[in-house]
Structure formats: C-alpha cells, structure tokens
C-alpha cells in the first residue's frame, strides 16, 4: 500500500526577469512535518510530481525554529514562516510563493535588505563605542525590561511589511518592524541618547505617517509583537518631537 503523501505547488522563477512558472511536487508524509523541511526535501531531490527532473528550488532558511526570520514566504496565499507552518494544518496542495513586496532573487528567495536599510536610517542600535571604558550601563528596571522584551523578539522576517497595504513602491512606507525597533531602543536608558534623531527620522517621507492602521501587521506577526500599540505610541512621540522642533527653532 502506498505511503501517505503531501502535495506542493511551488512558484518558480529562475531569475528576477525570468517568467514565473508553477511546479507540482509530491513527497512522502512524515509526522510533525513543516513546510521548510518539505522545501529541503524537494531541493534535495528536485523531481516534479509527474516525474520530470527540474532545478533545485532556492529559498532562504536557517534556524528552522522561528528565531532567525529567514524562511518567510507566502503559504496558501498568506505570509508566514515556513518553519512554523505545519503541513498537517494546511490545505493541500500547499501553494508556496515568494514574498510579493520585495525584489525577487530566485524562486522563493527575495531581497529584504530594505528592512536593514530602514533600521540603519533610524539608528536602531545603542551607541556604546568610546575611546575609554564607559563602565557599567544604567540599571534597567524590571518593568522596563518587561515592556521591552516583546519588542526585542523581532526576527526581521518582514511579514508585517508584506501584509501591509501601505508598504509599497508608491508610499515607500518604512513598515511596522522598524517602528517597533525605534521604541525598543528609545526605551533603553543608553539607547535613549539617539531618541530625538530616531523620531525625526521617522517623520521623513515614507515615515510613520503613512500607516493606515489596517492592523494586518499585528495579526500576522509570528512573534506576537504589539505592533499597533507601538505605532500609536511612537506616532505620538514623533508628533511631539516635531512640535517641539517647530516651536524651539
């Protein structure tokens, strides 16, 4: 008797300019199987469901446990992490496509460097470099740690940007992930030194004002980061910063 199988349809594209084609694959079912393990298996034995040999599929992945943020893709139409998408919970054939808002590299791999550029634009770091030992940092109260911890969970998967109706090439919106990191670093007693610069950065074109509060980001976030709360808080901070700048200049 034939073993139980799982069927996949994968959107293939050999290069950014090549035409997109769908290929079907059928692999043996295993208990607890997730989409990323299926991708690995298909890449290792690239034979389509009708027995044709094809090129190995390309995709990003690393940790396989929803910590690194690499394997975000659209699975049955929705952006999510391939590692935490269990095959048993998905309708078959499982349709796997690359994220749609980022430049395609090949197959399921996209270039998400815009997020890294955005994090640089808002100085999402804590400046501790000096010419001498700066000593121990200030104490972070437990309450502050508790408020910051959810924000520090961001894995840069860009799902929040993918599902955002405002994140596109017309608005060039910065996206929820970057705004959450602004809050994280503004709340840190040492990171706070760059607070005003970060807020001013977020008032630039493509900044926080482009948010339409459709709230898709918070729905989709695999790490359950309170993104809408953060956008609300940081919107207020940006507005107050702009008002202060206007009145004090």
């Amino acid at each position: 008797m034939a073993n139980k199988t799982v069927s996949f349809e994968i959107k293939r594209q050999a290069s950014p300019d090549a035409p997109a084609v769908w290929e079907s694959f059928e692999i043996e079912w295993r208990p607890g199987m997730n989409v990323i393990s299926a991708m690995m298996e298909i890449a290792g034995n690239p034979v389509t469901a009708d027995g044709h040999s094809t090129t190995p599929i390309t995709y990003d992945s690393n940790c396989l446990e929803e910590i690194c943020g690499s394997c975000a893709m659209r699975i049955n139409g929705k952006a999510r992490m391939a590692c935490s998408s269990l095959v048993d919970n998905l309708e078959q054939p499982i349709r796997v496509e690359p994220l749609s808002k980022f430049p395609l590299v090949r197959d399921l791999q996209v270039d998400r460097s815009v997020l890294f550029e955005n994090l640089k634009a808002v100085k999402a770091w804590i400046p501790i470099d000096g010419t001498y030992d700066l000593g121990a940092g200030p104490r972070v109260l437990p309450q502050e740690q508790e408020a910051s911890y959810p924000l520090s969970n961001c894995i840069s998967c860009t799902c929040c940007m993918e599902v955002c109706p405002q994140f596109n090439e017309d608005t060039n919106f910065v996206g929820a992930a970057t705004i959450a990191q602004v809050k994280l670093f503004n709340n840190h007693p040492t990171g706070r030194v760059l607070k005003e610069e970060r807020l001013r950065a977020l008032a630039g074109d493509g900044g926080i004002q482009e948010c339409g509060f459709a709230q898709n980001c918070v729905e989709v976030c695999p790490k359950s980061i309170p993104l809408t709360n953060t956008i609300s808080d940081i919107s207020r901070d940006v507005l107050l910063q702009k008002a202060k700048d206007f009145l004090r200049n």
């Binding site: 950014p16 139409g77 929705k78 808002k101 980022f102 430049p103 590299v105 270039d111 460097s113 815009v114 550029e117 955005n118 640089k120 634009a121 808002v122 940007m161 599902v163 109706p165 405002q166 994140f167 596109n168 090439e169 017309d170 608005t171 060039n172 919106f173 910065v174 970057t178 001013r200 950065a201 977020l202 008032a203 630039g204 074109d205 493509g206 900044g207 926080i208 004002q209 482009e210 948010c211 339409g212 509060f213 459709a214 709230q215 898709n216 729905e219 989709v220 309170p226 809408t228 709360n229 956008i231 609300s232 808080d233 940081i234 919107s235 207020r236 901070d237 940006v238 507005l239 702009k242």
Partner: protein
C-alpha cells in the same frame, strides 16, 4: 554562440536595487500634510458635521424652526469667510488628499480578510461616497436654486423638493450612513494614530464609543431626512 554559457566569472551577486525604497529619514514634508489631513477631519470637519446634524434636527420641529436655524447660521459674523475657511477649503483638502492616500495604498483584503483590513477599505469607499455626495449637495443646495443666505425661510421647502425625488432620497440615505461611518471610524483612527489610545483594550473600549457615536449620528440624520419626506402633507 550556440554554446553560450552563463558568464563563469561573475564577480558577485548583483545588488538588487528595485522594490520599496528605504525610509528617507527626516526628509520631505509628507508628515505635515498627513497630519493636517488627519486633524482637519476632526476639526473643523467633524465639528461642522455635528453642527449640521443638530441643525438638521430642527427640521423635526417644522419648516419655521428649520428656517430660523438657517437664518441664525447665516447671521454669524463673517459667515462667508467662516464658510470658506472652516468648511469648503478643509473639505476640499481632506477629500483630495484622502483620494491621494487611497490611490497609493494597495488593498490586500482578498488575502487578509481581517476586521482592521476591512475597516481600512471601508474608510476609503465611505470617504469617496461622502466626497461625491458633498460636491453635489453643496452645488445644488448652496449655489443653485433659491439662495438660502438671502431667503432662509425657504430652506425647508428647498430640501423637501430635493428629497421628493426617490433617487435623490436614496442618495441622501446612503450618503448619510457613509458619512457617519467615515466620521466615527475616523475619530477612532485619529485616537489610535495620534497616540491617544495606544493600548489594545483602550482602542477596543474607544471602539464601542465610536460605534455608539456613529449609530447615534446616523439615526439622528435619518430621522431628520424623515422630517422632510415622512409628513410632507402636514408640513404646509
């Protein structure tokens, strides 16, 4: 040529530079224009909407009370300046910039049919209905036919005549609901986006307040419309 291969010594993967651009940190003035759009929706437009709804409610007391209300509004100091600065120009800006915001958003309700996403789409359609309605409403009721600033007592008859057309009545009913929806969700959005309700529970509670506000206004508005069509026999 027939044996063309991919170049063996491509130095490195080409850097992809298409797609959504990174944040232009601190550049441009779109922040100001967005916030102006948002603020104008509450003050003066929201405030004017409340005034208009209350004035319409006078119609329930009959043509004379309604006419007196129109006369009072037209007797305000510098009323023509007030009209342009606090009503016409803000509406025009709010509407045009709103359409611009709409055109730049890319709705994905098909893939993500979630409540907030629906409301995001609804805010755009109700806004468009409101704009189209208000344009014809202002042209036909303010700038065409009997000049109400000069003949305020004919206000009731003018509206009654307009609503005698069943198609126009349908337009008014639909627009009334769309505008109340757009305003009440707009208030909710304003509170969320200006950092007044940063908490999930606060937004939820304020959501109930806004639903009550929207329902209250819509009922008031529809009731006022009823005053012009329901008892037309007894009005004169």
């Amino acid at each position: 040529m027939a044996t063309a291969q991919s170049p063996a010594a491509t130095p490195q993967r080409p850097i992809v530079r298409s797609g959504v651009k990174p944040l232009r940190a601190g550049e441009g003035s779109s922040f100001l224009w967005h916030k102006l759009h948002s603020l104008l929706g509450i003050i003066p437009l929201g405030a004017f909407l409340l005034e208009h709804m209350l004035s319409n409610f006078e119609a329930l007391k009959g043509p004379i009370a309604y006419g007196e209300q129109v006369r009072f509004l037209n007797s305000l100091p510098m009323v023509r300046v007030l009209e342009w600065v606090f009503i016409f120009l803000p509406i025009l800006y709010h509407a045009c910039y709103g359409v611009w915001i709409w055109l730049r958003g890319k709705s994905n309700i098909v893939y993500y049919p979630w409540a907030g996403n629906w409301l995001y789409v609804a805010q755009r359609y109700t806004g468009l209905i409101a704009f189209a309605y208000i344009l014809q409403h202002v042209i036909r009721q303010r700038f065409m036919g009997v000049s109400l600033p000069e003949h305020p007592m004919e206000a009731f008859a003018k509206v009654q005549q307009e609503l005698a057309n069943p198609w126009m009545l349908a337009v008014y009913v639909i627009a009334m609901i769309a505008i109340c929806w757009h305003f009440s969700y707009g208030v909710w959005l304003f509170a969320a986006k200006w950092g007044i309700t940063p908490g999930t529970r606060a937004r939820k509670r304020f959501g109930y307040v806004c639903v009550a506000l929207g329902l209250g206004l819509a009922i008031m508005g529809l009731w006022s419309i009823w005053a012009f069509v329901g008892n037309s026999a007894s009005s004169f």
